[in-house]
């Protein structure tokens, strides 16, 4: 029974990781850009929500009303003004620019907020749970996060396959030059894609900020989990990303059950084993 409970927790944790990973996967899918600042942006979203909560006295969920549009705009502008200039055959510039962004965000947050742990408070719902049989308790909040992760994937799927914008995303992803010939302003498409990626990042940041504590330097760990979920699932596949997140969540939960010290390590090891045995992940869509 203890094990079933562990597996359920791992599954729900996987939902959080897929939420981390979706933004990374989306931006990579449309413009082949790997954003090293991804994890730090998740943390930045947590801090932004924290500030909004402190300043306006609203709850973290209400803060999304401000955080989401802010992040969309931020992503749109960063892509349009900075990242678009780095895209090309050379992989170094986008990597260094996002790495630079990562270091700037970490240290700026440290400068303003110090290295203290913070948390977003949602009240009693955080610890509420319902029972399944006699021994298994499922947390309502983790379940809600998992549901939001799936809802996000469904929404993005609908956006990609049922809208004019989604058609532009896919065409640009296939062949950006040909898309330009069809009259598509690919720079704007990239900016919108990053904007949407940032909205997902903001959702992940706020939801995770309620679940666990964060500090200015917790970004890299979030990036690595997101990255592992994307690679396990297979590049470019959004449902694969959910799968990858769940595999990672389960691995960590099982490892943590054996010995709390092993939790993170088990996740990394499962990732390396997948890399060894199945380097393209389970549902690859894009060639490396």
């Amino acid at each position: 029974m203890e094990w079933i409970s562990t597996l359920l927790q791992g599954l729900l944790l996987g939902g959080v990781y897929s939420l981390f990973a979706i933004g990374l996967s989306l931006v990579f899918g449309v413009m082949r850009l790997v954003n090293i600042a991804h994890g730090d942006l998740i943390v930045l979203a947590s801090f932004t929500s924290y500030v909004v909560v402190q300043a306006l006295g609203v709850g973290p969920l209400m803060s999304l009303v401000i955080v989401l549009p802010t992040f969309f705009l931020f992503g749109y502008l960063v892509q349009l003004l900075v990242l678009n200039r780095t895209l090309g055959d050379d992989m170094l510039p986008p990597m260094i620019v996002t790495f630079g962004l990562s270091i700037v965000i970490q240290n700026a947050l440290f400068d303003v907020f110090t290295a203290d742990n913070r948390k977003l408070n949602l009240g009693p719902i955080e610890t509420a749970s319902f029972r399944l049989g006699n021994d298994i308790a499922i947390g309502i909040y983790p379940l809600a996060v998992f549901a939001i992760a799936i809802a996000t994937i469904v929404a993005l799927q609908a956006l990609f396959y049922n809208t004019k914008l989604g058609r532009e995303f896919r065409a640009t992803s296939d062949d950006a030059e040909a898309a330009r010939m069809m009259g598509i302003n690919t720079k704007r498409v990239f900016a919108v894609a990053t904007g949407i990626g940032m909205v997902v990042i903001a959702i992940a940041g706020v939801l995770m900020g309620v679940r666990t504590t964060f500090d200015p330097f917790s970004g890299p760990v979030r990036l690595l989990f997101a990255f592992e979920a994307v690679i396990i699932g297979g590049l470019g596949s959004i449902w694969g990303t959910l799968f990858g997140g769940i595999v990672l969540g389960l691995a960590q939960a099982i490892g943590g059950q054996i010995d709390p010290q092993f939790q993170i390590m088990t996740g990394h090891i499962v990732f390396l084993v997948v890399l060894l045995l199945r380097p393209t992940g389970f549902f690859p869509k894009v060639q490396h």
């Binding site: 090293i36 900075v82 170094l92 620019v97 630079g100 962004l101 240290n107 440290f110 990255f227």
Partner: protein
């Protein structure tokens, strides 16, 4: 046309002048201990190992195209191996230094084979994950665990009975490692190995068609760099006398810092790390009172460089004023048919007929 001879020249007047300046610099640095200024000596040791790490990352990323964000795995591992050799093997720290490097080279082999399945930015993050695994492993094994360990007093006395003597030995070792790193990269790039590396960097497929095995070539670079990085790591923690997983595998200091140094100075040029290290220490020492601000400035500078002068500060100057300190490029020029291809000033001219591709 048929009788035309080509000669391949590498040295320039500027590079010869630069060599003289470099040698003088090393001589001056050798004289610093006579002043007895221990603060400066410690700073120079630090500059030396940052330069060596930067040279290694430059060789890896700038010449072999392997954008690793996980080199802290090898510097940290090297540091730990030094402690292991000293504490459990009873070896002297100075002998442990190269041994730690060799071990780092050996563990880098399986890492490389796994990581080479990833390319570009995925390789970058994959190596980062590997370094995290190294860190987590050292949390668990009996080398101090999470809280780390110190070098025993006895071992420290082994180096030299006095603090001054120990600092002098570490100073000289650091100087040797810095000079060694530059010499290693320089000689590697001037050899056939370097020629093959440049060929792969410029066009991997075309170079494969002339028989260059790019996998083995990159593997060779990766392992060499890991070994040297491990040795530098051993020196770093020999100077610090303490090691812990958090400090040994710190991505910020040993990866981000180093990468920015190389990029700001000029990636793919031996001169780049020199300029980058200068910028790094200038920023760090002048903003010492403002906490993390030097990292913010460093990050911003790296972004600006990537957007407006991808060749880095040195590359920008070199292209403008045609400077080369380390002549590793080969300039082909034609010579009148009658005249024999006589090496103008001796040191580095090769007739093109002697130039064949290396056996990789």
């Amino acid at each position: 046309m048929t009788n035309q001879t080509y000669i391949v020249a590498r040295a320039t007047t500027a590079s010869k002048a630069a060599l003289v300046i470099m040698v003088s610099c090393v001589v001056v640095l050798l004289l610093v201990p006579l002043t007895g200024d221990r603060g400066s000596m410690r700073l120079i040791v630090e500059i030396c190992y940052f330069l060596a790490l930067a040279q290694m990352w430059n060789l890896l990323a700038g010449y072999a195209g392997l954008l690793s964000v996980g080199q802290q795995a090898f510097s940290g591992f090297g540091g730990y191996m030094l402690f292991a050799f000293v504490v459990y093997g009873g070896l002297s720290p100075l002998i442990s230094l190269p041994l730690a490097g060799i071990l780092a080279g050996i563990v880098s082999l399986p890492v490389a084979i796994l990581m080479f399945r990833l390319s570009g930015p995925y390789f970058a993050i994959g190596t980062w994950v590997t370094a995290e695994v190294f860190k987590l492993v050292f949390f668990e094994i009996p080398l101090g665990g999470g809280s780390g360990m110190s070098l025993p007093i006895q071992a420290i006395r082994d180096i030299s009975p006095t603090t001054e003597g120990r600092e002098l030995i570490i100073y000289l070792t650091a100087l040797a490692i810095a000079v060694g790193s530059v010499a290693l990269v320089y000689s590697m790039l001037r050899s056939r190995f370097g020629l093959a590396l440049t060929a792969v960097r410029d066009n991997e497929r075309a170079s494969a068609s002339v028989g260059i095995d790019s996998f083995r070539l990159k593997l060779g670079v990766f392992v060499t760099v890991a070994a040297f990085t491990g040795m530098v790591g051993a020196l770093i923690f020999l100077q610090k006398l303490r090691i812990s997983p958090g400090s040994a595998f710190d991505v910020m200091e040993w990866s981000a810092g180093i990468i920015f140094i190389v990029v700001i100075g000029g990636i793919g040029r031996i001169e780049g790390p020199f300029v980058g290290v200068a910028v790094y220490f200038l920023l760090r020492e002048t903003t010492a009172n403002y906490g993390a601000w030097y990292m913010i400035l460093l990050g911003l500078l790296a972004i600006v460089i990537m957007l407006f002068a991808r060749q880095g500060l040195w590359g920008f100057l070199a292209e403008r004023y045609r400077l080369t300190v380390f002549p590793i490029e080969r300039r082909v020029r034609t010579v009148e048919p009658v005249e024999k291809a006589k090496p103008s000033n001796g040191i580095s001219d090769t007739a093109i007929s002697n130039l064949s591709l290396p056996p990789f």
